[in-house]
Symmetry: C2
Subunit: 282 residues, 2 copies
DNA sequence: CCCGGCGATACCCGGCGGGTATCGATCCCC
DNA sequence: GGGGATCGATACCCGCCGGGTATCGCCGGG
């Protein structure tokens, strides 16, 4: 199977429309139809249910969509990491670290400082991204290492080392009645009908149904809380940077959050090993 | 990057010889040279140091060898799993389980029995292989799930669940002086100059230097021990199937062995989930 | 019933992957 | 030191396949 065929297949599987997929791929529709048919013949498997009005994935097709994306990511990673390896000699950034914008900044700063003091430290580019993007960036080679937060981020398929754990606090508009309390429970937070918990979009772009407002990043979230339209349960570390129109109260029974450093399992980079070692000593 | 280019590159990187690599790929040498040069131009990276007498990998080349193998495995996995998904409807084996020949047969039998009793059980093919092959089989889609033994097998990049732990015993020829002892220590085992520990070939086909005989499978090993040419430290489970010309003595300070069930991290198969659930209840 | 949307088919062209012949460099050996 | 052997690179040719345009056939909706 060639990566071109896989890319074509993934495009059609995502669009479920040969015309739009062809447009996305910058080719005409007929060659695309032909390529997919050829792929089906070579695999001996029907990938799409086509009527002249609609296209749908078969069972086998959805397997290939999942596996094919992973395979394409692996190929992209091979490409990017090879290019980076060639540049490494010339002194460009040695490692790319990715983390969620606005999380663990404290820990990250400490880590970067400690690592920079190591004798054989290399340059580190820090990449900030939205929630759920990190795993992708690690898998397709755009990043070498990530700071993730269990249990929110999936660490499936990655090597990890725990760095720190912390409790969670509920963030409320300043002056809210609950802010006078020394601590609260999840049930009390959930029982605030005028301050619903927000909904985050999933990695696939879809968002769960529910009452809360849809937010895409931290700033947006804090703004909504300040406006009295939502509340949020966040790791304690969020407290130190709270705007003064917000207040935080510990939540006793919220799951504790573990910050972990994570990297692709087959990494063999000396620089990465050094960074992980430094992180483990923090 | 196309998989064809990757396959070509990996062949040359493994053979370090364009002629032999071309032969392995069933093409002539000139197109291979050209394909590699093209790949290098497209990546903007030198992959090989060539003199007219020898070919060597550059730094970037060895990165691409590692990453490229992983990518090719992922592509192969996509292919195989798609084909299998198409067959699944027609009732062929639902899962392929791989484990080392001659290990955990007790546990495996219990697992297969317990799983077969589940209401929605599917067929399971059992694949036995040499040590170190399992990870490969999981990654390239020839197997869905494996029984591994920590700390011997690497579980890097796989999802796992612990099943059981056991101590280790030293296996000796029947009648050996140590066999009268209730237990021994590693130092005593290592101090048997006439019964050295055997050496296993690594996954890459190379084998470590050292005194012991080179063995490739369990039968061979037990035969060597019976002949008084080696001894071995094995998990306790090995005791139950010992031939009567062999004896086993617990080793107090040998690392305990954990049998784990392992699967590729992005598996989404219902059947696999059922098997893992069953295994967890054993 | 006709039109519009969409995938499939028919057909053509150019580029690229593959082949053979040969070159050029380097090491080995007498 | 020169000749042969080895091995990768170059030159050149051919046929296939990937990509394009034109068009068909099916089907649902107004």
């Amino acid at each position: 199977m060639e990566t071109r065929e896989l890319r074509y297949f993934v495009a059609v599987a995502e669009e479920l429309h040969f015309g739009r997929a062809a447009e996305r791929l910058r080719i005409a529709q007929p060659p695309l139809s032909r390529a997919i048919r050829q792929l089906e013949r070579r695999l001996g498997v029907t990938l799409f249910e086509r009527t002249s009005r609609a296209v749908g994935l078969t069972e086998a097709g959805s397997v290939l969509l999942r596996e094919g994306r992973a395979a394409l990511d692996a190929v992209d990673a091979a490409d990017r990491r090879t290019r980076r390896a060639a540049l490494a000699a010339t002194g460009s950034p040695g490692l790319v670290l990715v983390t969620k914008a606005g999380a663990s900044s404290e820990l990250l700063a400490k880590l970067l400082d400690a690592y920079a003091a190591e004798p054989d430290a290399v340059g580190i580019d820090v990449l900030l991204c939205g929630p759920g993007d990190q795993e992708r960036l690690l898998r397709d080679g755009r990043a070498d290492v990530a700071l993730l937060h269990r249990p929110f981020d999936s660490t499936v398929g990655l090597d990890t080392e725990d760095l720190s754990t912390e409790g969670q606090v509920v963030v409320l508009p300043a002056g809210h009645p609950l802010t006078t309390r020394p601590h609260v429970r999840m049930a009390e937070v959930a029982a605030l009908p005028d301050l619903p918990l927000p909904r985050w979009p999933g990695p696939d772009g879809t968002s769960p149904g529910g009452p809360g407002p849809l937010v895409h990043d931290n700033t947006q979230l804090l703004q909504l809380i300040a406006l009295g339209r939502a509340c949020a349960v966040l790791p304690e570390a969020a407290r130190v940077h709270l705007r003064d129109d917000l207040a935080a109260v510990p939540v006793l029974d919220a799951p504790t959050v573990t910050t972990v450093i994570a990297w692709p399992p087959h990494s063999r980079s000396l620089a990465l090993a050094g960074l992980v070692r430094t992180a483990g000593r923090l």
